[in-house]
Point group: C2
Chain length 129, copies 2
């Protein structure tokens, strides 16, 4: 996935949250000179805080390096946030999984086309922490 | 304040939070094509969530347009976060004020060299919401 496509995907998801007030969402600035682990998106509303790693893909499965998920979980725990990977294959709707729902292979976590996650409405309506 | 200086200032503040685990902090990505109100920085740790607008200046006072503060407050309220303006004149230490502590002039909120805010330790040790 190119950076441009990744950024577009993140923006799309951010629009979704803003379309459901009082939810707000922001993109985290690229690391640049900063080397701290951080998610792609932070979304929240009073009493709910979500850190989200964002994946779109044409190819199946999506590979998620252990390190990437480890950093996401670490960040989310320190913030006391709900932690999700949001994914979408091509134009299929966004789905959300929690890190413990990811399948582990030899070297990576994976999300497959057959993976069933929560949809956006599930996520904003009900806390799943 | 140039964009570059502004970004440097934000990074400096982010380093400060990361130097005090379990605090974490991120820079919010520049608006780009997104037109949503958002702060410069989000910082947090379990049970605390801070949205921060960041200002460094050589000139006194610092002018803060009503609209900028309005958007910050709106975002922070929707997130249920503590809301701060972090400011620093030249190399003086960072100080933090809450929006209701800002002085109002004809057209802007202002922060003056004589403005006394909370220091960084106050902020991370005690909730002020």
């Amino acid at each position: 996935m190119s950076n441009r496509k990744g950024t577009e995907a993140e923006r799309e998801l951010i629009h979704l949250f803003w379309s459901q007030p009082p939810w707000v969402a922001i993109r985290v600035a690229g690391s640049g000179s900063m080397k701290y682990p951080s998610p792609d998106i932070i979304a929240g509303t009073r009493g709910r805080l979500l850190v989200i790693e964002c994946k779109i893909s044409r190819s199946d499965p999506i590979y998620l390096p252990e390190d990437e998920i480890g950093k996401l979980v670490d960040f989310g725990r320190r913030m006391g946030a709900e932690i999700y990977v949001a994914f979408r294959f091509n134009r299929s709707p966004w789905q959300f999984v929690q890190p413990h729902q990811l399948r582990w292979t030899d070297k990576n976590f994976i999300i497959e086309r057959s993976t069933t996650g929560y949809n956006f409405n599930d996520i904003i309506r009900h806390g799943l922490l």
